[in-house]
Subunit: 422 residues, 2 copies
């Protein structure tokens, strides 16, 4: 359908802290929101109507940070400390994606579950393997989801069995991946340069990736300032930099002309924060990961209120769920604990702010995405909260809050850029 | 059936930090665990068998603290601070239970959902209303669940519309409630003396409740040291006490001969802790509430490892879920943040410890409950984790961990004291 109407209770966040709930009709044309009507105009009575009366409809949620291959062991070994978890679970599991059959069947489960979630847009890490990464991109495209996937770059500080031998080999595979992607018809799932994080990538490799990103106008994603030990490690690896973010920025991989998502940013100092804001670097705030990995709690309320670009990331499998509504809840909860124990000047994130992060905030990385405003792509999820009914009436905002906190809701329908995918 | 066998993967926690997973057959006789067999003995081949091969079976979970009437607005208004939340949501909602029809229909939803959860035993707060409280007890008994319910006592510091006028009226209603309960045939859902918390109950009322508990050999439940403002308030209300717990203890309502559950105990000082341990006061650790209410994080790992009586509480609706598996996950998560930000000497709770709290730890308040050991009542939940399968095999411990972290599992079957209730 080129033109259609959708009826329901449209709930979005036009600005941080402002929740907007409107019952009525949204006209969708060529995949984009066109106009909203509280009542159906006479002139539109002939237009096809998708009737979700009384159901809550939110923008599709954007997941700015996740590791697709880790989904297979999501929610296990959470007792382990980070380095043990990486060496005993992460690296052995990611290495298995060298096997095309394993990659295919594992990614089928991941893509199925992502499709049934409320997520419509994503930035995903894959593995070192070019073919497995292309398999993931192909499956995501076929599912109708949109976003970015990165073949991982890593040539140091991981086990021999899971590391690129040198910069040349890594670059050759990265170029092969980009060329193969261009050859396939995958217009909606695009490549993103993905050095795992500075400790995994030698300076010359990072530099070469910076050149490649600039040449091909590619975005990039990585990790930044997740814990203090990591920051010290980076400082010792790159003694000529004055802060962690500079290890990316010096090669053009830190916002500006290179759209960038940095996961975590828990311990970013003043200089790093200033550069992030100046360059429009997106912060992927990963509160479920903050809870599980013992890294700490990112100052998400500060970032949001002080004009940084910020959205949410599930960080599967440091985070234990793909469900960004649950991640929203965690964002509110950890911000309350941060307020209590770390910084009493940073009042907790509200529901409206957490919802903004999951929709408008993260969505803007993908263009006009995350709002029900004219010109925005029609990404939407229709929430089935029938199982959450109770013995009293709830406002749309309360229904949204219960959907986030209680879990147990379902995705009744889902649209990506106007196409119904569920 | 007086005697039957259950087959499955029995998972329990015989001591803190020790997870035991045994595949085989459990013989149940007169509602109690009798013996475990890895393979079926020839002599038992004629005994009726409930076959849950390959399914995970855990002890029923014990919820040491919840507010049944608050379930109706669970997961709403979590942005509010505690006092606003109480005055705008809690008191108005609890007051509605004066209406028997509202109480009946609301408690039907609560009992239905509790029945479908993994909880088999509970300590529940009701409201001020005798009849509504009896209605709740009757429904819980009919559902086959077991535990304690308290008609609330509160004669100060709440709105006029939701407060007992004086001690005499409060005591008269409390006695009427106990007599009416004794008249009804509710052997498995028993009364528990329930002063809301010290600020809600005058000294003479607390004293009278202490006498009543002693006369009738009743247990008691209340709140303790949840936040610093509350502790100061209690100090100003009871200037002749040296710590909060003493306001209960001086009237015989703090363990010893009066089995006691105290919710929270986040800021208990040395003297209070010493008395709790000496008197065997049970601590209801409510980690989801810790996350939502901004009170702080209780030192649960310290309590568990240093020999206190402790279990988990959902604290609905300060906590947002009745699902104690989710509460277990929150217990691990907040203990990691406590370790990071509050006390680095208290290493985080492990899965095995959190599971111990939810089963063995809390279960012991109800007698021989919470373990698959000979003589223990057969409280059990059969977990349906089919929806959580992924592309690799998981050990029973990993399946338990995923069931707790991922959510989305179901209760396939449930037994309380040997009776199948689901």
């Amino acid at each position: 359908m080129r033109v259609y109407l959708v009826r329901g209770v449209f709930t979005d966040a036009p600005e941080p802290g402002k929740l907007r709930c409107r019952e009525g009709y949204l006209l969708v044309e060529d995949g984009r929101c066109c106009a909203f009507y509280p009542t159906l105009p006479e002139a539109l009575r002939g237009v096809p109507l998708l009737d979700f009366s009384h159901q809550l409809i939110t923008p599709g949620l954007s997941d700015l940070h996740l590791h697709a291959p880790q989904y297979s062991y999501c929610g296990t070994a959470m007792d382990l400390e980070l380095m043990d978890w990486l060496s005993r679970y992460t690296y052995p599991e990611e290495a298995r994606y060298a096997d095309p059959d394993y990659a295919k069947s594992s990614y089928q489960i991941f893509v199925r579950d992502l499709l049934h979630s409320a997520t419509t847009r994503f930035c995903a890490f894959a593995t070192l393997h070019t073919d497995a990464t292309l398999e993931l991109m192909t499956q995501l495209e076929a599912a109708g989801l949109r976003g970015y996937v990165g073949k991982l770059n890593m040539n140091r500080n991981s086990p021999d069995y899971y590391r690129e031998p040198d910069t040349e080999c890594g670059m050759a595979e990265t170029v092969r991946w980009l060329n193969e992607w261009a050859r396939r018809d995958l217009p909606n799932v695009c490549p993103m340069i993905t050095p795992r994080f500075t400790p995994s990538v030698t300076d010359d490799y990072m530099e070469a990736l910076g050149h490649l990103a600039a040449e091909r106008h590619l975005p990039m994603q990585s990790h930044l300032s997740e814990n203090r030990d990591e920051i010290q490690w980076v400082q010792s690896l790159c003694p000529d930099t004055s802060f962690y973010g500079e290890t990316y920025a010096r090669y053009g991989l830190f916002g500006g002309d290179c759209p960038t998502v940095m996961a975590h940013c828990i311990y970013s100092g003043e200089a790093e924060q200033a550069l992030m804001r100046q360059n429009g670097v997106y912060i992927a705030h990963c509160p479920t990961s903050n809870e599980n990995v013992i890294a700490g709690i990112a100052p998400a309320a500060h970032y949001l209120r002080d004009g940084y670009q910020i959205g949410l990331g599930s960080d599967v499998a440091g985070g234990h769920t793909l469900n960004l509504f649950e991640v929203m809840t965690a964002a509110m909860q950890v911000s309350k604990l941060r307020w209590r124990y770390v910084d009493s000047s940073e009042s907790p994130l509200t529901l409206a702010e957490a919802f903004y992060l999951a929709t408008t905030g993260g969505g803007s990385f993908f263009g006009k995405v995350g709002l029900f405003e004219p010109g925005y792509e029609f990404d939407a999820v229709v929430l089935d909260d029938a199982a959450l009914k109770n013995n009293r009436a709830f406002s749309p905002a309360e229904r949204l809050e219960r959907y986030a906190y209680l879990g147990g809701g379902k995705t009744a329908a889902k649209f990506v850029a106007g196409v119904r995918v569920l």
